[in-house]
Amino acid sequence: MNRFEHRRSRLAGAAVAVIAIGGVLAGCSSSSSSTSSTSTPASTSSSSAPAPTSGSASPTSTAVTTSSCGTKPGVAATGTPINLGSIVTDQTGTSFADIANMANAYFTCVNANGGINGHPIKYFIEKEQTNATQIASEAKQLVQSDHVVGIVGNTSIIECSVDHTYWEGLGYYIIDSGIAPECYSTSHSAAVNMGPRYSSDGAVQYALTQHPSKIVFDQANVPGTTYIAAGPNAIAAAAKVPITDMTATPPVADANSVAISLVDAAGKDGAVVLNFTPPDALAILGAAQKLNIEDNVKLWACSTPCNTDFLATTLGPKWNNKIFVNAELTPPDKTNTPTMNLYKAILKQYGSAVTGGIGSFSQMGFVEAELMVKALESVTGSYTVASVNAAIKGLTDVNTGMLCQQWSYGSYSSHIPNNEDYTVTADNGQMVIASNGGCTPISAVDPQIAAYRAEAGTAPLDPTST
């Protein structure tokens, strides 16, 4: 082999290596990497020590003990466990584990304070990486191996799509945080949140109140983008404001070009509405700030995931009253209600696994656990799949203390029980309710909202949430 051929051979080898290994790497980044159970049985240990007061986020909050989460303060539940399960997306760039972790914190609190009529809750959390086979397998594991009698806290990009017929067949009524269309459009799933579509509806609706000349709606390029975009498009069309849909592949690696394209598309009098997870939203907003183009549009808006103090803190005061975020749950920072204080106290004492701290995700976990506990407490007799799910389905007009409206399950073909919400804005490191951002119904211009209201009616406001 001469020198020329030797070099050529090495180059060819390198080319093969790059192409083959590029494929492997690309595969690694998107495939399921772990199917191991991360079941987290709730603690059953006693907690008789004085409970701390609520977190520091609310200086005006009154002292609340976590013992109020249960019926027998300080008495650990020691009976037969009630098994509950959850499936959450937890993958590179997208994690909803905080929701289940917060539900687990609530259950741990309940277990330490009497449990459910003396029975502790044992909570199994399965994590998935947007792999349908894995998700279906985890559902079966929860039912067949873990013998769960209820499913609560599910938050997954595709779980509702994959498993809804399975749950329907077995008679499980799921309390979840919805993302996929089937979380809202099926009979056996009811979410505490509004999900990306209706939250984006809310963000667009608020943006329209500022009279922008155009809306640019950008979202993560994940399954369901067409479904999600349908709501904002309907609302913008009804307002006769042009809307442009865009997507960016998460995790966003070219935030600069994404930010420039959004600002260019919106124009000086336009509005940019984002629907991303916090890291990607922050990358785009941060890029706009570094490029000094954040003021080149009239306003920025965002669906619920942006509703974290971390985002407001990181972006800084330049974004005060510049970014408006749809908040599906009562803003926690300046709310001083018993429920909000209990949430903060539980988060502080039992929520070490909740990485995001105070924010919408942990609030969702709190509400889901709260609803499940209410359902379990209404069960008379043994805790079976039939009795527990009948109780879940029977939840009606519940004051959660976290939502604008009372929450109901009911026998409906679709479930969007949370369809009225807040808008918050950055205010020196905190998210506070924006001007005219109080409880506002999502527009029935979105045909899905109209269909749900026609079937279930409009729920009364929750007097305990503010």
Partner: protein
């Protein structure tokens, strides 16, 4: 069709992106030329260093100390890998040596996923002081960090070219690229030369990781797999020319960003490195075939 004022903004952002691709690409080519190893762990090493920097800053360590740790971490980890596995794999073909570095990639990537798992709310980020000032170009604020990224690519390309051509160590590296065994028989301290190459490549990985964590996102997968774009640039340069690698990296960055405002193409812009690499390889291959035939006919 986007206007020039729109395109010029993407040109600026593309230059900055190309600059960081160039940093990584040049490091890859230098190491390949010295050791014959395609170092696929380049991105993962830099990412891990960046996360260590993040942790140090969170622990209130001085920023400069955290940056040095990031850069040194890259150098030390790469050197250790090179010293342990380099000699053992020296006799194996290019594919085997590249796949071995993939092992290091996956170990570091897995460690990052465990140590810094994805979060639901809080976001990790590194911000350098050079982010806070800069100048305006085509209506965009250009930060000094972006200028440093592009400038470092230029400086590195020139300095490495001069180093390889005019220094004893550089000459030894070039000799090893042709034939390791003959170079060794000529009395060149092969292990020492390789160690210098591994360490230098690692230092670049750490430096690139720090810049990318600031310019792109402090996220394990993003930083680990961003090296693929740099690999494409190195491949376009046939893993030989540092200058061509630099130019290719800049072209990849610019083309990638210039595609953004084109609605029909914007969702395919992430394919830019692969498409350009494939086109370059096809052109080179065809050119060689034609040249070989011409020579045979003559």
């Amino acid at each position: 069709m986007p206007s020039w004022s729109e395109l010029s903004q993407f040109l600026v952002s593309g230059l900055a992106l190309g600059g960081v691709y160039a940093l990584s690409g040049v490091g890859l080519v230098v190491l390949y030329r010295a050791t014959g190893v395609l170092f696929l762990a380049f991105g993962a090493v830099g990412a891990m260093g960046a996360f260590l920097t993040y942790e140090m800053i969170q622990a209130s360590a001085p920023g400069w100390a955290a940056w040095i740790v990031c850069i040194l971490f890259g150098g030390v980890v790469t050197l250790i890998y090179g010293m342990i596995f380099g000699p053992a794999l020296a006799g194996r073909n290019t594919l085997v040596r590249a796949v071995a570095t993939l092992g290091l990639t996956l170990i570091l990537f897995g460690a990052m996923e465990v140590l810094w798992p994805p979060t639901s709310g809080a976001v990790r980020a590194i911000s350098l002081p050079t982010d806070n000032s800069g100048f305006t170009l085509f209506g965009l604020q250009v930060t000094w960090t972006q200028v440093i990224a592009l400038g470092a690519g230029v400086v590195l390309t020139v300095a490495t070219g001069l180093f390889l051509r005019y220094t004893k160590l550089g000459t030894a590296m070039r000799a090893m690229a042709n034939d390791r065994e003959i170079t060794a028989t000529l009395g060149v301290p092969v292990r020492r030369v390789e160690a210098a190459a591994w360490f230098g490549c690692g230092i670049l990985a750490g430096f690139a990781g720090l810049l990318l964590a600031d310019l792109v996102q402090l996220e394990p997968a993003t930083l680990t797999f961003l090296v693929i774009s740099s690999l494409a640039a190195a491949l376009i340069a046939r893993l030989r020319s540092i200058t061509v690698t630099f130019v290719a990296a800049i072209v990849i960055g610019v083309v990638h960003d210039l595609l953004t405002p084109f609605t029909a193409l914007t969702n395919y812009r992430d394919m830019t490195p692969f498409v350009l690499a494939v086109i370059a390889l096809l052109v080179v291959s065809r050119h060689r075939t034609v040249m070989t035939r011409s020579r045979e006919e003559a």
